[in-house]
Amino acid sequence: MIDYAWLVPVIPFLSFFILILFRTKMQKTSGLVATIFSGLTLIYAIVIFGQLIKRQTYLAEWQWLTIGTVDISFGVLLNPLNGLMLLLVAFVSFLIHLYSIGYMDGDKRTSVFFAYLGLFTAAMLGLVMSPNLLQFYMFWELVGLGSFLLIGFYFYKNSAKKAAKKAFIMTRIGDMGLLIGLILLFWQTNSFRFADISEVILAGQMESGMITLIAILILIGAIGKSGQFPLHTWLPDAMEGPTPVSALIHAATMVAAGIYLIAVMYPLYMASNVALAIVASVGAFTALYAATIGLVQDDIKQVLAYSTISQLGYMLLAMGVLGYTAGIFHLFTHAFFKALLFLAAGAVIHAVHTQNIKQMGGLSKKMKVTSVTFLIGALAISGFPLLSGFFSKEEILAAVWANGQYGLFVIAILAAFLTSLYMFRLFFLVFEGESKKTIDKIQPTPITMKIPMIVLAFFAIFSGYLNTSWFETYLADWLASGATFLSTHHHETPLWLFFVTILLSVGGIVLAYFIYGKKRINQEDWKSSFPGVHTLLKNKYYIDEFYQLTFVKATNAIGTFFTYVEKYIIQLCMTFVKDVVQSLSKTGTKTQTGQTQTYGAVAFLGLVLIVAFYVLKGGY
């Protein structure tokens, strides 16, 4: 079975192909067909994973492009990390397909939606199975395409159009970093293959300056894809897409690809302390930065989007402090609880047809399953004891502490506290309190939407036990078996860290309860006492406006400047050339008097000249 592992991305691609081909005829059945394809993908991925447990790695390559003497291949690589990602992507994708049947019911373009989902899933599966950096980059762009298409799914909405465009452009900027990085790396190592690259690096055959440069360039790619500061602005806007898309692409899988990139290039980062420090700082800063914005947003999906950015920052931070397993672990758990939160939010939006949390309230009575699963997700992300987020977050904090980055540790703690605060702000505003009058009718949540939420809730609770020092560190051992470059020593988690983690999460929840649940603390007081801060956060630190004023303006200005160059200089030259030719030909016409006699005289003169020439020169 594993020899046909390349079929895994082909199955969802077939789904895409069939649905796009028969998109008008399969309007009704598209959801079911796509879900079956997705289910097949999942089953196949599970089978492959089962075989992978025994054999650890699998590699198959085919020649793709020959440049002179260099052969670039295309292939399939499976190792512990890839296998885990493969399973995760196939699993979440299947659940999202199932959920979308209910969510997209009644839309006129369901078949297109499911086709795009299939395309994205195929690209994402291809991405995680890439054995070389070039193939990785290609699928990296293709998942971007899937994301772009799905963000712009409601193409008639101007906001969706803008968001899709922005997502593509912003990630493309990051991608250029990755592209430059991988080309430079090629000229250093003469290969795109991950195995060859890490071999060269581990053998110490590269200059450290070059390593740092390439590491930073690749990090730029990860920053773009994972929505890290300063290329994060596209991710909140990407919420314009349908909610299942936000859950799949912009929470669980694609945005985590940036972290995955750092993980597959980890030997490179381990070779450069500067690069690691930058990775950690970007991650920590983004974690805190996005969390502060998440505190004041009123759109339920915006809050979740900033929460995603913040959590991705967390993972990046873990990567930057040599917490390889902690980062991947958090990626793993985050995929479940963040997808869950998005799906629950989707159920809410589906029910009340608004995204503004100020217009919601008291939904827990009417939407039991949704509110309970959302609560589980919120608890998990806040790091509430015994839920998955608790273990992964605690491990990240431990890694930061063990690395001795105390400044970053403080930032991480603050971000963790803010996380539980804004998550429960969301919870209390949406599900508790009084119901608002604006919501008169609540649409029931279909069963196809409930099942994925329940399944994800299950994983949001229990996936943490895969890697805890209490039982067995399955995940860490599994990952370590595929990443020999990692140092194997296991740092002991200081006991007080458990309490810090618990304190943070519970503290945030309690504070949120008092502000938004009980309304003991008047939030208006806070707003009025720090008016500047509130507006600053509300406007997301004016980063969008800043980009608009600088980069967009500058680009347009250069464009306009070139228009003038074109208009005045180039056109002038063109007119000049044209005029020269025209005046030359005018002069030419003047000699054409039409007088036959003149022509004859000139011809005779010519003859005389030729004869005279030969007479003087004496023949030939």
Partner: protein, 104 residues
């Protein structure tokens, strides 16, 4: 009988040709221009005949050629006159300066 040397024929022909050329290039009356062209052709004929008698390899071909030329010249005059008459009907003149439509 053969006291007239080749040079004499050639000089006559040259003079004839020059007169013809001069006339063809300068005269305003188209009929005179046509006649001048005939003059030039005849100068050539004279040369042909002279060379067929006194040339380095004297043979009859030169005379045959001149016969051809005379025929062509006759045809040419006929066509030329026809064009001229047509032109005259249009413009009521045979002044060659008026014949400058070639430039259009």
């Amino acid at each position: 009988m053969s006291s007239v040397p080749l040079q004499a024929y050639l000089i006559v022909a040259l003079i004839l040709f020059c007169i013809g050329l001069f006339g063809a290039l300068t005269k305003r009356n188209t009929i005179i221009v046509l006649i001048c062209i005939e003059l030039m052709l005849n100068a050539v004929n004279l040369n042909l005949v002279a060379f067929s008698k006194f040339g380095a390899s004297a043979n009859i071909t030169g005379q045959v050629f001149s016969l051809f030329t005379i025929t062509i010249a006759a045809a040419e005059v006929a066509v030329g006159m026809a064009i001229l008459i047509a032109f005259y009907r249009n413009k009521r003149t045979v002044n060659i300066d008026e014949m400058n439509t070639l430039k259009e």
